[in-house]
Every structure is written in structure tokens, then in C-alpha cells.
Homo-oligomer: 210 residues x 2
DNA sequence: ATAATATCGATAACAAAGTATCGATATGTC
DNA sequence: GACATATCGATACTTTGTTATCGATATTAT
């Protein structure tokens, strides 16, 4: 069987949130049509997505078992075995990510944070901030695979290189740069400018039509 | 001519950043191959992207004029005529976005911020935070088109509805929910869970190969 | 001048993702 | 029990995006 498509993969967490809601409300089954309506998708798209991760599939007339889907998507996305991560750059955005409780639901656990200035105070969570020089040792010692970069653009590539040299295998980059990485490293550039470009183009189209 | 593809559109800001660098370094022309190498793309992809926005196109042997491309991409992305936006939810993430200087480069100007608790203090920037009840009037008065949502998931849909009723036409949603919006509203859900799903799937693939 | 080469744009082939169609099958109604 | 219906999965088709190919053209070197 082929791997799941990138697009499908990105829809799964969305489905899961919705299915969890249904589950909480005691709803036991759901059809692809219902899910599709919720997210303005084509029912066939939803069925194909679910076909990848669902063991038993859906039943005619009734649809899919909500409980089964919740279990299967969670498992598929790896939400059951948590991955450790380190974060570098405890500015505003970094603090925001550190303070975000939701990551635990997504199987992500930020075990340590780093900065070059170590005198920063995180008000609420009061986690310790380590000096960046401590990163390689800690990453090696704990076998951390994921690095989150929330430093300014100027220092992002240097941090990235340091992470890779320390054994990090996946990098989630929130700085406004496209990092250069070897092929055996997973990288996700979270590009605000790209998102904004899509949004404002749609806005322009809408304004033109009115 | 057809509109630009979503994928191309998202690559343009990346190109622009790179081209600005080249420009600063006094480099006057660049080939599609060079750009492609920088971002691990196919040169043909780059040429097609640039064909959409470039008036004169590139010259054989030398490539494209850096200065021309910078001007044309900036113009195409609307970076020259700034759009006003309002932000609702001045928690950590909201403050981070409010404090981010880079948006001005992307033609985005956050003119006001709102929260239900109005006693929050933003340390550095010291902008005023308005009560959410002031939003409709301000949006109508200034004719603001863009709304940024950085509230918790529970209140996101309510904020969204309020924005739309006030005349907002484009919504940039950072809360972990997929908002329901009518078709004449531009919406961009910034879904961390989806990004993370892509990253960790690639990580898994890499770990498997080693 | 001539030749070699890097690059372009255009066209065509290919790949990936989304959508439509259709027969099969549970469920509920008459 | 027969019939209508919502839904499924499979297959085929369409659209969108990427990659390969190729002739044309500036630039540089001989």
C-alpha cells in the first residue's frame, strides 16, 4: 500500500478534534457526508482519508464508529507515544509555545528550553531556561529527536546547525527563514508570510466580487 | 490568463526574502537554477512561478533581474499597500504577534487589539488593549478587513462570528479549531496539529531508514 | 567570426489530489 | 417480506501541480 498523502495527513487532526467532540456528546457513529459538511469537503475525500486509517471501514447507511475512528486516528498520528522536543529561543513566541498545554494532546512534550540570554523569566510556568551551550549534551543524553526554533531569523540557521550536530532529526522552524538542511533531517518551516499571502489573495478576490 | 496556483503563491514570499538578500549583497541577476538549488525545488517550477509575476521574464545565460523580481513580487503580494487588521486575544501568542515587527514588511498593520479581560499589560510595546465590546464600532469606523484570532478554542467561533458581523472579510485563525464561515469570507486556519502531523510522519520515516 | 554553454520559454509527459459515478449493502418503513 | 434510502467502497475521470524535453538565444571564450 502507498503511504498516506500529505493533504490527507493534514486533515486527520482536524477530523480527530471533531470526532472527540462527537464522542463527548455521546454520538456513536458518523457518516462521511456529515464530516464533509462540517469542513466543506467532498464526502469522497473524507472516505478516502478514513480508508487509510480505518480497520473495519464504515457501514452502509450508518457510517463510521466514532470511538473506533478516535482510537485509530490517535494511534496513526502517534498521539499515544509521546515524543520529546527541545525549544530554542524563549522570546514571546517561544514562551507562548512553552506555555501551550495542547501539545500534550498531540504527543509532543517539550522537555527543555534554551536561549542565549539565560536571565529571561517565564512568568506563569516558571520553567528553567538553559543556556544554548547546554543543548548538545542534553539532546544526546535524553535522545531528543525534535527541535523547535523560535529565535530571530539571523540566528536561526546557526541554531538549526547546532541541533543537527547534536543529533536532532526533526526541526519545527517558526523563524521567518527557510532553513537549509540535509535530506536525512525532517524540516517544517512555519511560514507566516506564505499563509498571509494565501489569505490576502482570497481577500482581494472577495473584495473584487462585492 | 489563469490565476496563480496556491502552491506558487506560497513560494513567492520565500523567493522574495532570498531575492532581498541577494539585492543587499549587490547581486544583480539570478537564474532559476540558483533559486531552485537554494530551496530544493525544480528549476522549471521556479521559472513557472516567476513567469506569473515577471513582466520581462529572464534572459538566456544570465537569468532574471533581482531588482525587477523584488519589485514585482512585492507588488504582486500587495506589500506596498498595507492592510489594516485587528487582533482578538492578547494572551501569550497574541502578544507575540502584536510585538512582531515583521508584519509591516508583509503589508499587514495591526491597528488595534482586543480581549475580554482588559487589565492585561503588554510589557514592551505598551499598546492599548480594548474590551472586545469595542470591536464592532472600531472595525466599522476604520473599515478594517482582516481579523486575527488568538483566543482559546472555546471562544474562537464566537469571536469569529462577531468579526464577521462587524464587517471583517478575512480571518486568520490561530486557535486550535476549524472555524465555520460563510463562503464570502476568506479564512486561514493556522493549524499547529496539522503541521506537527506532517513533521512527525517524516521523522518516523527517517528514523525507520536508519 | 565561430563555437561552446548556460539559460530561457513553451510544450508535452507525468504524478498527485480531488470529484463523479455506480453497484452493493445495512437499516428502517410499508 | 418487499421496497426505499443512506451510506459505503471501488473504479474511472478531471483537475492541479510537477518534471522532462527541446529549440531558441544571450554571453563568453577561442
Amino acid at each position: 500500500m502507498e503511504g498516506i498523502s500529505k493533504e490527507s495527513l493534514q486533515r486527520l487532526p482536524t477530523y480527530l478534534r471533531y470526532l472527540n467532540e462527537l464522542h463527548l456528546n455521546g454520538i456513536e457513529s458518523v457518516s462521511s457526508t456529515t464530516i464533509a459538511d462540517r469542513f466543506k469537503l467532498n464526502p469522497v475525500t473524507v472516505r478516502k482519508d478514513l480508508a487509510f486509517i480505518s480497520e473495519d471501514g464504515g457501514k452502509p447507511k450508518t457510517g463510521f464508529s466514532v470511538a473506533d475512528l478516535v482510537a485509530e486516528i490517535s494511534e496513526f498520528l502517534g498521539y499515544n507515544n509521546t515524543q520529546d522536543a527541545v525549544l530554542v529561543g524563549v522570546g514571546k513566541l517561544g514562551s507562548a509555545l512553552l506555555g501551550y498545554k495542547g501539545f500534550s494532546n498531540y504527543g509532543l512534550n517539550i522537555v527543555a528550553s534554551f536561549d542565549c540570554k539565560t536571565d529571561i523569566q517565564i512568568d506563569s510556568t516558571k520553567r528553567e531556561i538553559n543556556n544554548i551551550s547546554m543543548l548538545p549534551d542534553l539532546v544526546k543524553r535524553l535522545g531528543v529527536n525534535i527541535g523547535i526554533i523560535t529565535v530571530p531569523a539571523e540566528s536561526a540557521q546557526a541554531v538549526c546547525d547546532l541541533m543537527i550536530n547534536s543529533g536532532i532529526k526533526a526541526i519545527w522552524n517558526f523563524s521567518p527563514t527557510h532553513l537549509i538542511t540535509p535530506d536525512n533531517i525532517a524540516i517544517k518551516n512555519e511560514d507566516m508570510a506564505a499563509s498571509l499571502a494565501v489569505l490576502s489573495q482570497r481577500l482581494t478576490a472577495i473584495l473584487k466580487n462585492e
